[in-house]
């Protein structure tokens, strides 16, 4: 589980932070409402999760709320891994 969260967190840092950005991101950091990831750019995160975990997340479930923290993203992944 922690591996999964770490994997997601690493992707978020790599994909969304500028090289000189020293913002600290934890599993609870608000990514979208906190202005780190804009809702338009989060599509690449969705694709990353689908490919990495071999799941399909319907657009209706890929809401800004569901993608707002690493914890909520990980919970979403778990839900579709079981489905």
């Amino acid at each position: 589980m922690d591996d999964q969260k770490k994997m997601i967190l690493d992707y978020v840092v790599r994909e969304y932070l500028e090289e000189d950005d020293d913002t600290e991101i934890t599993y609870d950091t608000e990514l979208i409402s906190g202005g780190i990831v804009d809702s338009f750019s989060m599509v690449s995160l969705k694709r990353f999760l689908e490919k990495k975990y071999n799941i399909s997340i319907p657009d209706a479930d890929a809401s800004p709320e569901a993608f707002d923290t690493v914890n909520s993203i990980s919970a979403l992944v778990d839900r579709f891994k079981k489905a």
Binding site: F40, S41, V43, S44
Partner: protein, 415 residues
């Protein structure tokens, strides 16, 4: 369904929420023509105040140019007020086609199609030209109208970090399985004022077999040695597949926009772009005015040269005063303040000093990146600039931020 008290109340609550969050936009009334010197009524009902305008997109100072106004007046007399039709029924005049041809020559492309605005051009072009087998890869700071246009298109969308060519290259590699890869960028980024690395973007497009789209709204008419735009500035004139731009900023400032580029792409827009198909195009008098604007910018570069000089003088003056500026070569010069309230307070104080500027903060710019965006014009004189710089020095000193950078300002005021 009736517009019930409950519905009315729900709208009011939402509007009050915007006010409480400091996101409610108040319009200020200009009493007279757009220009460097304007009289502004703000708040509504207040007496008019004479101020110098540093927040218009009137880059070439053509919004109220007598030759442009006269040409528009002649166009009104010769071609009437409106068309009462979309283009493909009976809404196209000879001057519409003439303007499209002139824009094609100016932008160095194969063909051009007018849209009611560049917002409409961006809303329509992607859906008209791309399908489910394609991918759009956009810079993360592109204009909102591009984001909207991409959302309307069935092609996959992706983004790359602002002007990060390594990240763009990663994305191009990732999407090699797609039919068309379209790289999407602004030419000049409207909030930061920096210029896209179009030379590197074109090189990557050639290497990874991609097309290039540029929105040059904040560049057409003045960026590049002869004002043709970012592609001229970056040495890739004639190599851009799709350019969108506006007639609502440097090129006269009225309204209207276009898609200019590969002949077949323009033809696809003419057949399929919904904002083009289902809306009247640019009104005849604006077309006539825009033709005059192109005459002026084609025949000499004096106005864009003045703008370039003004920009350098202004940027140097603010830097010497100790303001923290975003670096760039365009007439958009953002003064970084980081804190939203500071940006609003300083804009208000500058207005009291006779300088009209606006503070920008989240969500228009990223959290903790609040700023006052200043914009230069060829209509500014040295006296305008000196008065503006004096006011900035005075207000900057009042807030104690001169000579301070991001770290110190955020320590003083918070993010």
């Amino acid at each position: 369904m009736a517009f019930s008290t409950t519905i009315r109340e729900s709208y009011r609550q939402e509007l009050n929420g915007l006010r409480a969050a400091g996101l409610y936009k108040e319009e200020r009334f200009i009493l007279g023509n757009q220009g460097a010197d304007i009289e502004v009524e703000f708040p509504a009902g207040a007496a008019g105040r004479k101020v110098i305008n540093f927040c218009a997109n009137n880059y070439l100072g053509l919004s109220s140019h007598p030759d442009v106004v006269a040409a528009a007046r002649e166009g009104l007399a010769s071609h009437g007020y409106g068309m009462s039709s979309v283009r493909f029924i009976c809404g196209t005049q000879d001057i519409h086609r003439r303007l499209e041809d002139r824009l094609t020559a100016f932008l160095g492309t194969e063909d051009t199609i007018l849209f009611p605005s560049c917002m409409d051009a961006n809303a329509g072009v992607f859906e008209a030209c791309l399908g489910a087998d394609d991918v759009m890869i956009a810079d993360r700071l592109v204009h909102a109208s591009i984001v909207d246009g991409m959302r309307l298109c069935k092609a996959m969308n992706d983004t790359y970090k602002h002007s990060d060519m390594n990240h763009l290259e990663e994305k191009l590699k990732e999407h090699q399985d797609k039919r068309i890869r379209l790289i999407i960028t602004d030419g000049v980024f409207s909030m930061d004022g920096d210029i896209a690395k179009l030379d590197e973007i074109v090189a990557l497009a050639e290497k990874y077999d991609a097309l290039v789209f540029v929105d040059d709204s904040h560049a057409s008419g003045f960026i590049g040695k002869t004002g043709r735009g970012t592609h001229e500035h970056c040495g890739v004139f004639g190599k851009i597949d799709i350019i969108t731009t506006t007639l609502g900023k440097g090129l006269g400032g009225a309204s209207g926009g276009c898609v200019s580029g590969r002949k077949e792409i323009v033809e696809m827009c003419r057949q399929k772009a919904r904002p083009y198909l289902f809306s009247n195009t640019v009104a005849p008098m604006i077309v006539a005015g825009a033709l005059k604007v192109l005459d002026l910018v084609f025949t000499n570069t004096e106005r864009r040269d003045t703008l370039e000089w003004n920009t350098k003088y202004w940027r140097q003056g603010l830097a010497e005063a100790g303001f923290d500026l975003k670096q760039g070569d365009s007439p958009i010069v953002p003064v970084m303040l980081y804190n939203a309230k500071l940006a609003q307070d300083m804009a208000r104080d500058l207005f009291a000093e006779g300088i009209y500027v606006v503070g920008f903060f989240f969500p228009v710019v990223p959290q903790g990146a609040a700023r006052i965006r200043t914009q230069l014009s060829a209509a500014h004189t040295r006296a305008h600039l000196d008065k503006g710089l004096a006011a900035f020095r005075k207000v900057g000193a009042k807030h104690g931020i001169l000579g301070k950078g991001k770290k110190e300002i955020t320590e003083m005021f918070g993010k």
